[in-house]
């Protein structure tokens, strides 16, 4: 009986590996025509023209990376703040309602976030936030090109904000658990020297949990990279590379979701599958970096 259980679990474990390898293989074979046709220019070209059968991945890669990065940029400080509030500051009667609220946020289907982003957030951005950014940051040297008008409402920045809200529950829950692992005695030692809450967060809690925080950031990034539905709604689905965060763009998953059904030529669907393969590689690299940084920091902490 034991041998049976062992064999079954071994086979299931192997099955996962084989399945992953098979998916990558099939993806690679299906995407091959695109790489063959365009070579490395596929990665750096920003023309995407199904009529002329010419495809380039750059705008989608740029959109994927930038929206995910923006999402982290917005979600991280907020998640940090909420988690620290929950663990250190909150009066006990507030902890439970706050946690429930965050869990509910996590339970909202991503298509609802998409709707909300398109019909609520985008108009607000178009009317107030984007004009403000264009007027203030848009004329600055260096960063100006990232905030050039006109105000469309939808676009990379809007997608980044929606993504930020979507990864916030995960990030908050993760950081809350991480902060809870810091020994109360250690924190009290700092308070006993007269440190404030903020100083304890900065010099005790964060440094003691660096490795876990880095891991959590990578996991959150991994989620943001692959998110499809909500991004498709608000990113604009525009296949030209625009530096400006206010301009519409596209992401890998949004491109695939939008176009796969209507792919007219073999090269078109091969190019979409190639995008999928690229997303897989990016996500893999992010998760690997996450693992590596966790291992590295954990070793340094133990010393």
């Amino acid at each position: 009986m034991n041998a049976f259980i062992r064999d079954v679990s071994f086979l299931s474990a192997m099955g996962v590996v084989v399945l992953t390898a098979a998916i990558v293989f099939v993806l690679g074979v299906a995407a091959a025509p695109a790489f063959k046709a365009f070579g490395w220019t596929f990665f750096v070209s920003d023309s995407w023209n199904p009529v002329k059968d010419v495809f380039g991945a750059l705008p989608a890669i740029y959109g994927t990376l930038v929206t995910s990065f923006l999402a982290l940029l917005f979600a991280l400080p907020v998640g940090f703040g909420i988690a620290f509030f929950l663990v250190e500051l909150s009066p006990p009667f507030l902890v439970k309602p706050l946690r429930v609220a965050i869990e509910l946020l996590a339970g909202i289907p991503s298509i609802v976030f998409g709707f909300w982003g398109l019909f609520v957030l985008a108009p607000v951005f178009q009317k107030y936030i984007q004009p403000f950014l264009i007027d203030t940051l848009g004329s600055l040297p260096l960063i100006g090109p990232f905030f050039e008008g006109p105000a469309f409402g939808i676009g990379i920045l809007t997608a980044g904000v929606v993504l930020a809200i979507m990864i916030l529950p995960f990030l908050t829950a993760f950081l809350t658990e991480v902060f809870k692992t810091v020994s109360p005695l250690l924190k009290e030692s700092a308070y006993a020297l007269g440190a404030t809450r903020w100083e304890v967060l900065k010099s005790i809690v964060t440094p003691s949990t660096r490795a876990s925080i880095a891991g959590g950031i990578m996991l959150a990034l991994g989620r943001a990279l692959g998110e499809t539905m909500a991004v498709t709604f608000v990113i604009g689905n525009f296949h030209r590379l625009k530096l400006s965060l206010l301009a519409p763009g596209t992401s890998i998953s949004a491109s695939i979701a939008n176009e796969f059904n209507e792919a007219t030529t073999d090269l078109h669907s091969a190019s979409l599958l190639a995008l999928g393969l690229i997303l897989f590689v990016i996500t893999f690299i992010v998760l690997a970096c996450g693992k590596a940084s966790v291992a590295l920091l954990a070793r340094r902490e133990r010393r």
Partner: protein
């Protein structure tokens, strides 16, 4: 204690009661802490020794469900008064915990931590203050060549002396020690006992201990707490040699706790 002694009390605790939520763990405790001496707090597990120390620097403030009643006079103020500046208080009343708690930073930064909270000083002065504190804690010779190493890389006994150095660096008047040697081996324990004895020249020390020999060896005053009540408080010699309360007698004979 006679009233003439009360004059040079550094801290005076009057009718102190303490609550964790609805649960009362200190019941009207009154006691004086005298300058340049060691006061040992003894009693069976759970009688409220740590709780007593935790009121003296208001560390319990961190937890909304905990509260203290009564008065604790220090530096002309009732430190239980909500208006009292806890940063001021904690700078003057240092605390060392039951287990060593080195911060996740270098040995130097551990000791400099409290100093940096209160004042800006040139780095040469800071270095001097750190060295002085490490010397006072009898740790300097062991770590002077590795001040940049992590505080967590030291041995347990060294870590505890680092924590003492960290508390001494801000030059408090009172040092609260909650079973400072209970997590340490006998050799480290002896070193820390020696250290505490030398420190009493300059500081008022309150030490919680389960170790009666230790209390008898180094303390000048001793208090016996039982179920949240102060049973007896006297000069250590008197309390250990001729305790006046039957419960103290039982405790010293090891009949409970």
């Amino acid at each position: 204690m006679s009233s003439s002694d009360q004059a040079d009390a550094v801290m005076e605790i009057k009718n102190l009661s303490f609550f964790y939520g609805d649960k009362q763990v200190l019941k009207s405790v009154s006691l004086s802490l005298f300058g340049n001496g060691i006061t040992a707090i003894m009693g069976p597990s759970g009688c409220g020794k740590s709780t007593l120390l935790r009121t003296l620097n208001r560390i319990y403030d961190l937890y909304p469900e905990q509260r203290a009643q009564g008065q604790v006079f220090f530096g002309g103020e009732n430190i239980l008064d909500p208006d009292v500046d806890t940063a001021w208080l904690r700078r003057r009343v240092g605390m060392v915990f039951q287990k060593p708690t080195p911060f996740p930073m270098s040995i130097f930064d551990n000791v400099a931590y409290g100093l940096k909270l209160y004042e800006k000083m040139p780095s040469s002065v800071l270095a001097e203050r750190v060295e002085k504190a490490l010397r006072n804690a009898a740790l300097w010779d062991e770590v002077k060549d590795q001040l940049r190493a992590s505080g967590q890389s030291l041995s347990g006994g060294q870590q505890q002396r680092l924590c003492i150095a960290r508390a001494l660096a801000v030059e408090p008047e009172i040092l609260l020690l909650d079973e400072p040697t209970s997590a340490l081996d006998p050799v480290s324990t002896a070193r820390i006992e020696d250290l505490i004895e030398t420190l009493k020249k300059n500081y008022t020390i309150v030490m919680v201990t389960h170790n009666l020999q230790q209390a008898a060896r180094i303390s000048d005053y001793a208090a016996f707490l039982y179920m949240g009540q102060l049973i007896e408080f006297d000069a250590a010699k008197k309390l250990f040699e001729s305790p006046s309360h039957p419960k103290t007698v039982d405790y010293l004979k090891g009949r409970f706790g």
